[in-house]
Amino acid sequence: MEIKLFRPHSLEEALSQRAQYGKDALPLAGGQSLLVMLRNKLIDPQVLLDLEPLGELRGLQARANGVSIGAMTTFFDLLYSSDVQNAAPILAQAAAKVGSTAIRNLGTIGGNLCHNEPGADLPPALLALNASVELRSRKGTRKVPLTEFFRGYFETAVEAEEILSRVEIPTLPKGARGAYIKHAITPEDLAIAGVAVVLVPDGKNPVSASELRIGLGGVAPVPLRALKAEAALNGTALTDEAIGAAAEIAASEAEPMSDPHASAEYRRKMIKVLMRRALAAAIEGGERNGHGKA
């Protein structure tokens, strides 16, 4: 059966098609993951819905209450956007670490979130940024916090008739800093473990942090917030012991899996290492986007 390609003229038209075909119509964003799955016969849709023509899914706007990012924004756009670099620098950091140049040129934030592959780089950063997504359907719009978006291994909250349209990042509190640290076999890989931290440092010697959020990737079937670790650290002095204890808690919140590249146990241990590093990096000014022009 030949798969049909629909090129809707408007988001409404796309939503009608989603309503009509449900899970048999897959939205096609950057195609960098979906087309590989199609090639490997891991998915078998009747229809591909091309999202490229849809203006409503584009655009990156800094607004009073935060940044609104269209689902079709590419990794390339994210990492070079001054709005992102100003308002949510760890998102640019994470985008710089995804795959390779060609993948960053075409892959999108919406596609990356909906694909939900363990080890992906954007989700932990977005979780630490307290992001939420906008899901559109013919019935209307709903906003889902990212903490509720990732449901299971390669599964998300997107319903059969919905399309993810925008990613919303609320304005960071004043003085907020962040860092995304990734451990992988080689730079282009999915993370064996990835930790993103956003915090507002307070005082000196020892520094304490408020508004602390920790996102973990690659260490569970879904990306997650290390809520218990956050609770243990938030508002307290970030001594070595405190960080060590919180890192233990974060490691226990994860449910890592073993695969040919790393065992579950190792992933758990790496969370602790990366958390220390991410906290240190965030406090000391965060890892700047290390990219030159490319």
Binding site: E2, L5, G31, V36, A102, I103
Partner: protein, 154 residues
């Protein structure tokens, strides 16, 4: 099946292909342009790299239908009137190719890089070509060729 109009290396081509045909297949099978290579087909090796509106993309993960109205550049378009361009000449001079299978993709990725960034540092070259595998050369000849091209850039 659908009719597709593709602009490749400045020339317009019409072909018939399935609606979800990949750009790689449209180029190789549809247009008989076999310069772009089929490697891993999962976007990891870069042998299939072409330029789409000047951006390096892996044609094995691009729908041909999405390329209508855009400029596609492939390795066949680099030489002008049978004359190799500077990058091609430098690739030959610096041993940037051995078996040659990664070369079309490598040239296109390097072309995209140099257009955006005419004087890339070694680190920037590494990032720009991070989606192109070479199993033969150990990459050093490739660095040298691109650096030499950068130095010579006007």
């Amino acid at each position: 099946m659908a009719k597709l109009k593709l602009q490749v290396n400045g020339e317009s081509h019409e072909l018939e292909a399935s609606e979800t045909a990949l750009l790689l297949d449209a180029l190789r099978e549809g247009l008989g342009m076999t310069g772009t290579k089929r490697g891993c087909e999962t976007s990891h090796c870069g042998a299939c790299t072409v330029l789409l509106d000047g951006m390096a993309v892996h044609s094995c993960v691009v729908l041909a239908a999405r390329c209508e109205g855009k400029e596609i550049a492939t390795v066949e378009g680099l030489a002008q009137d049978g004359e190799l361009n500077e990058l091609q000449r430098l690739f030959l001079k610096h041993g940037a190719l051995q078996c040659g299978y990664c070369t079309p993709g490598m040239l296109m990725a390097a072309t995209a890089l140099l257009r955006r960034n005419p004087k890339p540092t070694l680190e920037e070259i590494k990032v720009g070509l991070d989606g192109n595998l070479c199993r033969c050369t150990g990459y050093t000849g490739i660095f040298e060729a691109i650096q030499a091209c950068a130095v010579g850039a006007k």
